[in-house]
């Protein structure tokens, strides 16, 4: 469609008065293609990202549905059996207490993935709202809000977690809080810088001159436009959070036995890796595969949402 066809309409027709409102039927409307839709069609062409997405979904389904299908229980010990290599009964083998490793990997995956998702969602919501508010209001509000972020950044993470554990006792929820409290900081910084860039754009000025409220400008005009990079960061935060959880569990500060996460299983595995290597190999394999998938999905999303930055 060109400009010429549009202006032909205008040439002779009288201009409708500003108070008129004619009827228009839904079926007549040409459906537009949003930037999200365009990004999705670009993502679908990225084989690595699509492959990773399917692998990731497969791992998630395996972890969630697996335990219902397996005849074994995660915490039932068989001390007579002990650690056995993979067999037709125990596909991944058993650990030193005779528990089925496959079911334990599934349960561990549930916890690892849940930590990854919940902590990321917590970080995302706090970070986006905090960062957008700071960036939009600017000036002294912005300065003091961001100095608070700097202060939290300066806190050593491990000491922070240990302090929390000492004060409130060990629990899974505390770990969500601890990880979320750390991860939202970088999210807030990214959103803030994005919003500061957008604020100078004329469409934000237009929104102000139309008299929209601050709330409306932040939620409808600013946040949707910084969501692209935020989604990418969120996908890359999930593996980072899972690594943190593994690190905490490895130190004994995270998930407590008999519960397991992939981090706990890897920790147990490495203690006996010379004698019973499968105890390390299987959980590490799943963990690494998940991290790879999420990173590839994140990269693919970045290329899809911001085609200018794509290298090819």
């Amino acid at each position: 469609m060109t400009d010429h066809s549009e202006t032909a309409v205008l040439a002779d027709e009288p201009i409708p008065p500003p108070t008129s409102a004619s009827e228009i039927a839904e079926e007549e409307l040409v459906e537009g293609s949003s930037l999200w839709k365009d990004a999705w069609s670009r993502l679908r062409k990225n084989r690595l990202a699509v492959g990773s997405l399917f692998t990731f979904i497969a791992i998630v389904v395996f972890c969630i549905a697996g335990p219902w299908l397996s005849p074994w229980d995660a915490n039932t010990q068989d001390l007579f059996l002990g650690a056995e290599g993979p067999s037709s009964a125990h596909w991944f083998g058993t650990d030193t207490l005779g528990r089925d490793l496959m079911v334990r990997v599934m349960y561990g995956g549930r916890i690892s993935l849940m930590v990854g998702l919940v902590a990321t969602i917590v970080a995302l919501s706090i970070g986006v709202i905090y960062g957008a508010t700071a960036g939009y209001l600017g000036d002294k509000t912005d300065a003091s809000m961001m100095r608070f972020v700097d202060m939290l950044y300066a806190l050593p993470f491990t000491i922070f977690v240990i302090l929390l554990m000492v004060a409130f006792g060990r629990s899974l929820w505390l770990m969500f809080v601890a990880i979320g409290a750390v991860e939202w900081l970088s999210m807030a910084r990214i959103v803030r810088s994005g919003v500061i860039g957008l604020k100078k754009q004329e469409f934000v000025e237009a929104a102000v001159s139309l008299g929209y409220s601050h709330r409306r400008i932040i939620l409808r005009h600013l946040i949707p436009n910084v969501l692209g990079p935020v989604i990418v960061i969120a996908t890359l935060t999930v593996p980072a959070v899972m690594l943190l959880e593994a690190f905490l569990s490895f130190l004994g500060l995270g998930v407590q036995p008999p519960n397991a996460s992939w981090g706990v299983l890897i920790n147990e595995g490495q203690q006996n890796m010379e004698i019973y290597p499968w105890l390390l190999i299987f959980p590490a394999l799943f963990f690494a595969a998940t991290l790879f998938c999420l990173n590839f999905i994140g990269d693919g999303l970045r290329d899809a949402l911001d085609p200018k930055s794509a290298k090819d």
Binding site: M1, T2, D3, E6, T7, V9, L10, E13, P14, I15, P16, P17, P18, T19, S20, A21, S22, E23, I24, E28, L29, V30, E31, G32, S33, S34, L35, Q201, E202, F203, E205, A206, A207, V208, S209, L210, G211, Y212, S213, R220, H221, P224, N225
Partner: protein, 347 residues
């Protein structure tokens, strides 16, 4: 500066000695002031209901700042903006926000002035709601369709996104958004400078028609004199934060009084190559002085093509009515320049 101020209570829009200064802050170490940019430095102006007032000036002369000051996007440092008898500059932010539906702005860059994540329907419906908050879905949609027809776009494309339109079409959407709250005053800040020349005339004609048929008043800002000459009823020439000449478009174009206006007028190319060859140009020397440190007296003296007269630096020229309705800040020492020969003007 004496100025043609109307009656703030009766006239449509009155600017009364408006100043907009930007404080550059203090040096971190020496605590010395980095100075104050006087972007708008004493502008007085009356805009009549129903007219198109062209505001011209080169980049950096403060025309965009003046437009944002009228819009109250930037609050004036001193002076008053009277709109329909109300002093906008004295209102609180909340009061200004309620008043905004009566004055709207069209921006320069149609690629940046529309939210890329919202359909045209959403963008316009949101703007319509500022005037009619209770309008329901279907009525809202009908209203948006009519707005699109008003600006010459096909209403069946209302569910499209800005990136699916060309530059000229986007500017039409931006115009529709400015019309949506049913304002009485529209400030168009360089609305055609980002567009192709072929599209420019379409948009100009549209704006002209809208002002006439919807009974609007418009302040049209541009650095392009030929565009301003085409669309305006009256023209104000701005230089270094001040208005130096104001009058009917015809008078400003045909009988410019200020040496600066004359130089601007002489820079408009003629479409006919024969008259173009014999066109006389007045060439100004140097760049516009920094508004951080404006020259004293007649602030035009550093660029005057005539030999500098020491007296220029001390006497601030008064803004006087030279002919009926034709005001000029004439400096008695900026003598009318002898036209520069073509050979020199080309270099």
């Amino acid at each position: 500066m004496s100025a043609p101020i109307g009656n703030p209570q009766e006239d449509f829009l009155v600017l009364d000695d408006v100043h907009t200064h930007f404080d550059m802050g203090k040096d971190l170490i020496t605590r010395a002031s980095k100075g104050v940019v006087k972007a708008v430095d004493g502008v007085s102006l009356t805009v009549r209901k129903g007219e198109i007032l062209g505001l011209v000036g080169e980049s950096g002369c403060g025309k965009s700042t003046l437009s944002r000051t009228i819009m109250q996007l930037i609050r004036p440092t001193a002076g008053h903006v009277w709109f329909k008898g109300q002093d906008l500059s004295a209102m609180s932010d909340a009061e200004v926000r309620r008043e905004r539906i009566n004055f709207q702005m069209i921006f320069q860059d149609p690629y940046a002035s529309l939210n890329p994540r919202m359909t045209v329907l959403d963008t316009l419906a949101e703007a319509v709601k500022t005037r009619h908050p209770d309008l329901k879905r279907d009525a809202l949609r009908g209203r948006v369709a009519d707005l699109l027809r008003t600006v010459g776009l096909n209403p069946t494309h209302m569910k499209r996104y800005p990136h699916e339109f060309s530059g000229g079409q986007r500017q039409r959407v931006a115009i529709a958004r400015a019309l949506a709250p049913e304002p009485e005053l529209i400030i168009a800040d360089e609305p055609v400078s980002a567009l192709d020349v072929s599209i420019q005339s379409q948009i100009l004609n549209l704006l002209k028609r809208l002002v006439r048929e919807l009974d609007l008043t418009m302040i049209f800002i541009s650095h392009d004199l030929s565009v301003v000459r085409y669309i305006s009823d009256r023209i104000a020439v701005m230089y270094l934060g001040r208005i130096i000449e104001l009058g009917d478009a015809e008078a400003i174009v045909d009988r410019p009084l200020h040496i600066y206006t004359k130089a601007l007028m002489s820079a408009i190319p003629e479409p006919d190559p024969r008259t173009e060859r014999s066109r006389e140009r007045i060439v100004l020397s140097g760049d516009p002085p920094s508004p951080l440190n404006p020259p004293s007296g007649c602030n035009f003296w550093p660029r005057s093509p005539t030999p500098h007269d020491e007296r220029m630096k001390h006497v601030e020229p008064p803004f006087e009515e030279a002919a009926p309705g034709h005001w000029v800040a004439a400096c008695p020492f900026c003598a009318p320049a002898a036209p520069v020969p073509q050979e020199l003007a080309r270099t």
